[in-house]
């Protein structure tokens, strides 16, 4: 299953791109995606407490992903 992954700030630097196409399995939770990402991109371990957003809403780790979801990895925000 194919998802779009948006990366910002420290995450973007850890992954080396601000948009990547990522393959995961049908029915994968956000938690499963996180494990896979940490395996592929070791640099993510350096980023403190990142959250996930799906289709521009924050989601918990139990959220079940669907084909073509727009997923964003949100490192600690620092606007303002």
């Amino acid at each position: 299953m194919h998802i779009q992954l948006f990366c910002f700030g420290q995450v973007k630097e850890a992954i080396g791109a601000n948009l990547v196409d990522f393959e995961c399995d049908e029915g994968d939770s956000v938690k499963a995606l996180k494990m896979k990402l940490l395996n592929v991109y070791g640099g993510l371990k350096e980023v403190p407490d990142f959250r996930f957003a799906v289709n521009q809403e924050y989601v918990g780790e139990d959220y079940e992903l669907s084909e073509n979801d727009e997923v964003a990895i949100i490192p600690p925000v620092s606007g303002g």
Partner: protein, 137 residues
Amino acid sequence: MSIQIVSSEIDVEACRKSAAADAAGAVVVFVGAVRDNTKGREVVRLEYEAYVPMAIKVLGQICERAESMFGLLKITVHHRIGILNVGDTAVAIAVSAPHRKAAFDGCQFIIDELKKDVPIWKKECFTDGEAWLTDRP
């Protein structure tokens, strides 16, 4: 309600005026500016980036909550992204309310929530290096 993420200079006076209302006894404006130092380290410039569509969406949700919690009349939030220098305005928040307490509390609520949840990031560039800001202020 006016919410914008912009890459050019923010017109604070226009933000303030857009929040005025005949029933408003109070307008409170918050301006977040680039400081010349962070904990004593000299700041050269900041680089802001945002996940723009989500930032606008989350800001909209925050402003709707503020509106109903504090009875605000009008709200304007403009946040700038890109490269900013010392003294530049990073964010302007203008709110109006019949009375002052609601205006102060509502404005402060919006900037507090913005700093917790809106997907915007700043990298601080010092004379001696750079760093993404990660500790919450």
